[in-house]
């Protein structure tokens, strides 16, 4: 991996200037601001069309560096989940709640939590959910 990199430098004899974080790229800050506004900011790969909710430098599918920000609708289905009765500091006053892995309708996966879920009977696998605009910590989902 590095070998190729050194070869390239030797040819052009300069440090690559492309690749800096730029406008229009998802950052942790813009992702978290998006959540407060009810939007999930993800990546769209300009080359292969893959969509991801993540912080990326290259596309995990085709390894293109041409990644654009794309807004996702925030609706999807629950793939799996747990009900937390003991939680990290930020969530200690919210228990019990469900921490869910959601597959969004556009394809990418994301996690979040659903308040007031006590029992597996409250949340079947495959349950449709949507992003809830909220000032609670993290990504909050609600059942549709």
């Amino acid at each position: 991996m590095l070998g190729g990199c050194f070869l390239k430098l030797a040819e052009s004899a300069k440090v690559e200037e492309r690749g800096a974080l730029t406008e229009g790229q998802v950052t942790i800050k813009s992702f978290q601001e998006g959540i407060r506004e009810g939007v999930i900011r993800g990546y769209l790969c300009s080359k292969c069309g893959a969509k991801y909710v993540d912080i990326l430098a290259f596309c995990p599918v085709c390894h293109s560096s041409d990644l654009k920000e794309t807004d996702l609708r925030g609706e999807g289905k629950v793939l799996t989940y747990t009900i937390q009765f003991v939680a990290p500091e930020q969530f200690m006053n919210e228990v019990p709640y469900a921490w869910v892995i959601v597959e969004l309708d556009e394809g990418p996966k994301i996690t979040g939590w659903i308040p007031f879920v006590r029992s597996p009977s409250d949340l079947p696998i495959g349950q449709r959910v949507r992003l809830r605009k909220s000032y609670l910590p993290g990504v909050v989902f609600e059942k549709i």
Partner: protein, 387 residues
């Protein structure tokens, strides 16, 4: 690659300790160096496996430990790979010795977390997830494995009762291990009725927060010859494998397997020229009961979805066809994060040398260790053989 041996091993008792990480690391290191029948001056370099030493306001553990061993000139640095720090450190030492850079190295894993209350410790452990997308969205460590357990139950019909069987077995084994954190016989009912932590996982499905340290002295075959040591009845690292996976559990295609464990296992078996059938017993990463079943399936010991049945039938007990976690595993021996992977090597060392006491696995020559970082962002697998 030159052949690399485990010449000595040492371990502290796991559990709540009054000692700091540096003291625990020194105890395990001293035991390992004495077990190898060496002077510390023979140690040329070292790796310290550790994840949370900053919680004790101490970074840069390498020189602190080497200084305490009386060899401050020997270089040592910390390797952090969450719960797989231990296997990563063993792997790096294996590479360094195999490549001929050093002939004799110390690997010591250590963790000290009992000064933290449960909520703070839970928070620290959640830092090992992809924090922005998992921990900060409400996932605790048991929560991540709880989600994995539910996915496994949904796909294969695994039951909470079957998960409980794993805990009961590993507690039984730990009763025979004087260094284990938990010495408590439990029943399936105890597990099923213990408080829910992150459903379907309950308190007794979960490993404890442990303090402790484990160490091993690794050396080259050339070194053994140079020192006039015999090459027979020694513990050879026959295969090593290490692989990565997405830092976040939810980014995986399949939520019922840890891809890094599959890949690391494959590499270790390939390098060893062995198959899963050649393994006499294994120490696997059972941070939660579900993790032991997934490990057995990822390593190919049992077909997907069959591990729970095999546990039920006693196949994985000491005395069964394939003993898993004779030490008690992370579940009951304990899980001092940085120490865990090195502690697995110590168990292999004791078992293969026939000095494991009441928990001895009879007639074993080949043992395997499987050590996972977080939910499989990293994994190291090693195969050891008594020559």
């Amino acid at each position: 690659m030159r052949r690399v041996y485990v010449l000595g091993a040492g371990i502290t008792k796991y559990g709540k300790s009054p000692f700091s990480a540096r003291e625990l690391a020194l105890e395990a290191s001293r035991k390992a160096i004495l077990s190898a029948q060496l002077s510390p001056s023979e140690i040329q370099a070292g790796f310290v496996a550790n994840a949370f030493s900053l919680s004790e306001k101490q970074g840069h553990l390498g020189p602190i430990v080497m200084s305490g061993l009386g060899i401050p000139d020997a270089p040592a640095s910390t390797i952090e790979s969450a719960c797989a720090s231990g296997a990563s450190a063993v792997r790096e030492a294996w590479i360094n010795i195999g490549a001929g850079i050093y002939d004799c190295m110390l690997v010591v894993g250590v963790e000290k977390v009992s000064q933290l209350d449960t909520i703070t410790a839970t928070t620290y452990f959640s830092f090992g997830s992809d924090y922005i997308f998992e921990g900060a969205c409400g996932a605790s460590f048991p929560g991540l494995y709880g989600a994995l357990a539910r996915a496994h139950m949904t796909k294969y019909g695994t039951t909470e009762l079957q998960l409980a069987n794993v805990a009961v077995k590993n507690h039984e084994n730990a009763l025979l291990n004087p260094n284990a954190h938990l010495h408590k016989k439990i029943s399936v009912e105890d597990v099923l009725h213990s408080p829910v932590v992150a459903s379907p996982l309950k308190l007794f499905d979960s490993c404890p927060f442990s303090d402790g340290a484990a160490a091993a002295v690794l050396c080259s075959e050339d070194y053994l010859r140079l020192k006039g040591r015999t090459l027979s009845e020694k513990i050879l690292i026959r295969g090593s494998g290490r692989a990565g996976g997405t830092g976040a559990l939810h980014q995986r295609k399949d939520l019922t397997t840890l891809g890094a464990a599959v890949l690391a296992g494959r590499e270790a078996f390939n390098r060893a020229g062995l198959s899963y059938k050649d393994i006499d017993f294994a120490e696997v990463h059972d941070c939660f009961t579900i993790a032991e079943l997934v490990a057995e399936e990822d390593l190919g010991f049992f077909p997907r979805g069959d591990a729970a049945k095999m546990t039920e039938q006693g196949v994985t007990k000491i005395g069964g066809d394939l003993p898993i976690n004779p030490s008690g595993g992370l579940k009951a021996k304990g899980h001092p994060v940085g120490a865990t992977g090195v502690g697995q090597v110590v168990e292999i060392f004791e078992q293969l040398n026939g000095i494991a006491g009441e928990r001895q696995v009879k007639d074993s020559r080949i043992g395997l260790t499987h050590n996972v970082g977080a939910t499989g962002g990293s994994c190291g697998v090693h195969i050891f053989e008594l020559t």
